[in-house]
């Protein structure tokens, strides 16, 4: 039986809140993606070039991680609600905060040494 057929249908408001949360994760991923592509396309004078590539790639990779993680989190939340379990932990939150902090610090350093 597919996971979305197990258990019972939750209160639709909780399902919708979960859905909106998923979409918020997707928007965050897309914002990081745009940042990575923009950095790569327009920050052409950053030296050395490999550093720019690493920063941009890290942003794009973070976007991918959030897309996957956001979907898995949505599914885990929905299954938990369907089976009257508590919501699972969200490692995404600490992960995202760490990624943004590290990338921001790295970008600031790179800009400062130009």
């Amino acid at each position: 039986m597919a996971w979305y057929d197990e258990g019972h249908e939750p209160d639709y408001r909780f399902s919708l809140a979960n859905e909106r949360t998923f979409l918020a994760w997707m928007r965050t991923a897309l914002a990081l993606l745009a940042g990575g592509v923009l950095l790569h396309q327009f920050a052409t004078r950053i030296q050395p070039p490999w550093l720019l590539a690493v920063l941009s790639a890290a942003l794009v990779f973070s976007a991918g991680a959030l897309a996957v993680g956001g979907y898995l989190q949505w599914r885990a939340n929905q299954a938990a609600m369907r089976n009257d379990r508590g919501l699972p932990r969200t490692p995404l939150i600490a992960t995202l905060a760490t990624m943004v902090a590290v990338l921001s610090a790295a970008t600031a350093l790179v800009l400062l040494v130009q």
Binding site: E19, A29, L30, L33, A63, A67, V68
Partner: protein, 103 residues
């Protein structure tokens, strides 16, 4: 569920889908821009596909609102959510492609 939801949940959900579609469209534009500038047909086509997906996400938002206000029969959300996740994944691949092509 056909009673009007005073919390406006269907509307808020549709708006969330719209905002996500906009974010996806912005990335699609970036990829199309690269395709035009670098004569990269793959990026051009891929960006247009992403733009189409962004439009699809907007339609999904409208569909969800109508489902949730009882105008349409309930359809399973998991497939729609998976579609959105795949669209974002495709955008990520597109972004990576754009970057690798200009390295």
């Amino acid at each position: 569920m056909t009673a009007r939801d005073p919390g406006l949940q269907p509307e808020r959900t549709a708006l969330a889908w719209n905002r996500t579609a906009l974010a996806l469209a912005a990335n699609a534009i970036l990829i199309v821009r690269h395709g035009i500038q670098a004569d990269d047909t793959a990026a051009l086509l891929g960006g247009m596909v992403l733009g189409g997906l962004a439009g699809a996400l907007t339609l999904v938002g409208g569909l969800r609102r109508r489902q949730l206000t009882g105008d349409l029969a309930w359809a399973p959300a998991p497939r729609l959510v998976l579609l959105a996740a795949l669209a974002v994944g495709l955008a990520v691949l597109g972004g990576g492609w754009v970057m690798m092509r200009t390295v």
